[in-house]
Every structure is written in C-alpha cells, then in structure tokens.
Amino acid sequence: MVQVHAQGLRKEFGSLVAVEEFDLTIDEGEFVTLVGPSGCGKTTTLRMFAGLETATAGRLLFGDRDVTDLPPQERDVALLFQDIALYPHMSVRDNMAYGLKIAGYAKPDRYERVEETADLLQITDLLDNRPADLSGGQQQRVALGRSMVRDPALFLFDEPMSDLDAKLKRDLRPLFEEVTKEIGCPTLYVTHDQEEAMTMSDRIVVMDDGRIAQVGGPEELYDDPDSEFVGTFIGQPTMQTFQGRVVEERDGLAVEVGEHRWPVSTRNGLAEYTDRPIRVGVRPQDISVTEDTSGGLAGEHVLDEPLGDRTNSFFDTPEGRVTVVTPKGFRGEGRAYGLRPSSSELRLFDPDSGLRIR
C-alpha cells in the first residue's frame, strides 16, 4: 500500500486544455472524491491515473514508482466504470476471474479467490449467471468484485452509480466505502453528484474548467468555500447568491443588498471593496423567515417542498427567486414575508474572479 502523488498533471486534446496544474496526494486508505460539473476534466484526470490517457505534462507517482508513462496494463489499478462493462459472453465467475487469468493464476486458485470475494460482497449465488441476467445493482456489485480480486495499488471509480436509482445508490455507498477501507489502498472516486462526494469522502477535490477549485474535507468545503463556484456547487439546496455593495457605516462596514443592509464583521480584505459591487452568498439554511416584512428582503411566497424533517420554500424577491429552508410543517400560503440572512453566515465573493473575500 502506497501514497499516490500527482504533480502538475496536464492534458491537452489538440488545442483544448482539459486538465491543468493538477496536484494531489492521496494517502493509503484515503477516500478522495473528484467532483465537478460535466466537462470540468474530472474523468480525464481519472483516466490519466488509470493510464487510459497519457498526461501531456506532469508526473504521476505510486509510492516511489513513476507510472507517468506506463500503460494501464502495468499500473496495477482497479477501475469501476460508469457503464459497468462486464463481459456479456462470460459468466459472473469468469468475469471476476479474468484479471487473475491474465495474471497467470491456475484455474482452481482463480476460482478460490473469486469465491472469497463473492462471499464478501454477498454475490455467491450469482456466480453462474450471465451479466445480462442481473439487476443494475447486482451488476455493479459484480463489477466491484471483479476490480478488487487483484489487490490493486489504487482504486478508481468513474461515476459508477450515475445510472442507478436513488435507493440503490444509498445501499451501494457504504459498500464502496467499506470495501476500499478493507483493501486499504488509496481511492479516487469521480462523480458529478455533490451529495455522493459529501457522504463518502475523506477529502473532496472540486474541479472547475480543468483546474482544482478547492481541496478539503466535506465540512470544510461546506463551511468555508474558497470561491462562489465551490460555495454554490457544494450543499443542498444551493447557496443563494445576490448582487450587493459594500458600504461604510458608523460602526464598520456593511453589505447592501437591494434596500437592505447587513453589518458584516470586519474582514481584512473587505475595506478595499468599499462602494464597489460584491457577490453575497448565504445558505438557505441560514436565512430566517419572519412575518415582519420590514427587517429583511421582501419575499412573496411561491411554493413549498415538504421533505418530512424540513421544508424547502421558494420566495420571489426583488433580487430574484430565493430558496429558504423552513421548519417542518411550514406553509407559506402565498403571503409576503421578510427574509433575513444570518449576518455571521454571509459569504462574500469578488464579483469578477468569484474568489472569497475573507
């Protein structure tokens, strides 16, 4: 078991730069998720780790082994594909044993290893079936088994659950985590689903347009996003953003959104934005709704989405539509409300670069 280092990875397709300046270290047994919108370069990055794409520049080290220019056959990685990619003409047993067969194991040894793995994943009774006879969840279990029989040096997941239904995802999530912990190798998991990233990862790498936007633990990214992009990408419902201005008041600086002003605690970098526009972000969980319309953004209630333990409510305000997390049982009935963001939870961003002003 080894650490995996990526140093300045870069991938160009013709004149298109898909990934650049990608630096990352994954520890033994660490579960790192690569998350971002489609086209951000996360799958390309994963394929460079797998050896299916060759890096244009940069280095990739598994421990002290330089694998940058090694083909996938010699990298000793496991990869779970989005479209599962089981071989339709082989039984589940032979699918799982294929890697061992290539590695030159004798038939009894192969099947013994397969049985052990199948036991762990509770798919023993599927071994004689063809992949086409299995459900989506079973197929993904088999694919997981196929990739883990060979004790990989690095475990890669390429959006393995994006074609599965929500309940199955929740069932498979802990399984993926347990299995990778059990194997104890570094894991890189690619997804476009921030919820998957939040729930499974030790650390999350958020990518935007071929670059790393931020790396951190789930709570760190949620509480302390480095940019408006990360702030709005992580967290459900999405962080609400407004166009605002920084204004000077008697006792310090305040942020003005529409006709409302909220004092903000002094931040080092904020003074230089005085009298200039700024982006203001606040999580829907940090906005309170009052019947008193004078103290906050005036919002006309549109509709509620009850979720059982809480409600997502939508309001039309002069600043656009705003989502607020309201208590269980909240029904707005189309009336007018005042929306008050908690001023300590305001996140301020540069309007041009989108970077956080701290």
Partner: protein
C-alpha cells in the same frame, strides 16, 4: 379510446373522429383483419411460388429420364420417368474439377473476408485518423460498378501479375468485392461494443490484442457469420469474375465451367445440368439455413 373498437354505439362526434384525418373509410375490425390476413398470405404465396418454381423445375428435371424430359412437364417424376442416373455427371472429371475449384475459392474468400473485415472494422471503430468518414464512404463506392466493369481491368492486371488462372487470384478479386460491405458491417458492429469493456481488460493486465481476442471477438460472432454468409453466397455463385479471371478450363469454378460444358457438349443432356445444378444449390441452402438466426442478429444493429 381504442380506434380498433368496432361497436357502433358511438355518438356523432365519435364517428366523426373515426373518419378523421387520414381515415377516409373505415372497415369494421373483423373485416379489416380478414383483408389483412388475405393480403399477407396471398403475397407470401405469390412470392414463394415465384422463387420456388425454378428450383422445383430444376429438381424435377434432375430426377427424370431423358425421354421423360422431352415429354414435357409432369407433377412429379414417377415410375419409368424416375431415375438417379442424371447424377452420374459428377463423375465427369471436368465437373469434379469445377466443383473442387468452387469449394477452394469459396473457403478462401470466406476466410479472407472474415479476417480482414475483423481487423479493418476494429481499426475503423477504435482508431481515429484523418479522413476516416470519407474513407468509409469511399468504401461503398465500389458497389456502384458492375462486376463486368471491374473484371476487365482486373483481367489486364491479373495477367500482368501472373494471378490469372490461379485460385488466389479469384479469391482476391471476390474478397475485394465482398469487403466494403463486410468492413462496414464489422465497423458498425464493433462500435456497439462499449470501449470500456476493452479498457477494463487492459486495466486487468491484458495487452491490446488479448483484449480484442477475449472481449471483442466473442461478441462479434453474429457479424462474422453475416459476413461469412455474404462472402459465401458471392463466391459460390460468382460467374463474371470466374469466367474472366479463370479462362482455363482446369482452373475455373462451377458456374462458368458448367456453361462452357453446356456450350461444348452435345453428349451431356439437359437433365444432367439440372442434377448437378441441384447439387450445387444445396450447400448455400444448408449454410444459410443453419446460420440464419445468427444472420438476423448480425443485422440487428441500431446504428447501421
């Protein structure tokens, strides 16, 4: 509301709707069903008759004595009219040579077409190169030329390269004719096999050729069989190329051979040709019969 409903209790507007756009006149369901069935069965019978009658004609003449043939058509050759001696023609040395040549050329063509189409189809499906689509379109241009247009220049080239009157010469020519379709089919077929399957094999440690053999090849069986059938039919029944590229009687295949025999001999009767013709239709029939289910699968490609 089902428009197949044939109860007449509908209101005026419902009736109007039934006579809506495109339905100028509506028959009741049982009537429509009978008409449809009659049409289907009738056209199938007509087509079947048109295709089967020449075969029947050949078959019944193959089992008749020469006198009975001259006497005209009979339903089935029976009694004195029935004989198997027509089949004695296969003992004719020339006919045997023609059949042997046909078998060699056909097997050679099938093997070459299958092998080359696999490699070329894989290359087209998995590698990008400049002008790939233009190249693929160009492939199909070959079908715009009739065999005789191609065969004459081929004669000159084959003559010059010494391929005239050789099995390999005809195999090459026939393979070239089958190849555009075969490569096209294999290309489209391999495109339906997800690349991730191969990538998964590579990651498991399999070299590219091994991934091809273990993962791609077994899944292309329907396309291989479709190509083999197509090449078989083309090679077995080819007349033009064999006639032109194998001018020597010793080298030529059955179709031109038998024609030369017909033209050359007064001895050999009409019924003898029918007998040997019948024998020669049996292999492709069997070949097609046993592989037809695979053939249909081979053409079940959404993207073709």
């Amino acid at each position: 509301m089902s428009t197949l409903d044939d109860d007449e209790s509908g209101t005026g507007t419902a009736t109007e709707r039934r006579r809506g756009p495109g339905l100028t006149r509506r028959l009741s369901y049982p009537v429509r069903r009978s008409v449809l069935r009659l049409g289907t069965v009738g056209s199938a019978l007509l087509l079947g008759f048109l295709m089967a009658f020449p075969l029947y004609w050949m078959a019944q003449n193959a089992f008749k004595t020469r006198l009975a043939i001259n006497a005209g058509v009979s339903w089935l050759p029976t009694g004195d009219a029935f004989t198997l001696e027509r089949f004695g023609i296969v003992n004719n040395g020339a006919v045997l040579t023609y059949i042997t040549n046909s078998i060699i050329v056909t097997i050679g063509t099938v093997l070459l077409v299958v092998a080359v189409s696999l490699v070329a189809g894989y290359g087209l499906a998995r590698y990008d190169f400049r002008g790939k689509v233009a190249f693929a379109r160009f492939l199909l241009l070959g079908y715009l030329f009739s065999p005789i247009v191609l065969a004459l220049p081929l004669y000159l080239i084959w003559d010059w390269t010494g391929l005239l009157n050789t099995h390999i010469g005809l195999i090459l020519a026939l393979s070239a004719v089958s190849m555009p379709f075969a490569v096209w089919l294999m290309w489209k077929y391999i495109q339906t096999i997800p690349q991730a399957m191969e990538e998964s094999a590579w990651i498991a440690g399999a070299p590219r050729w091994r991934g091809f053999v273990d993962v791609v090849l077994p899944q292309t069986t329907p396309a291989i069989i479709a190509n083999a059938l197509f090449a078989f039919g083309l090679a077995w029944n080819d007349f033009t190329f064999a006639q032109i590229l194998l001018p020597s009687n010793d080298a030529t295949t059955f179709p031109p051979g038998i024609l030369r025999l017909v033209n050359a001999s007064f001895e050999t009767g009409y019924g003898d040709f029918m007998a040997v013709g019948l024998l020669m239709t049996i292999p492709p029939l069997l070949f097609a019969f046993f592989l037809q289910s695979y053939l249909l699968k081979g053409f079940e490609i959404r993207a073709l």
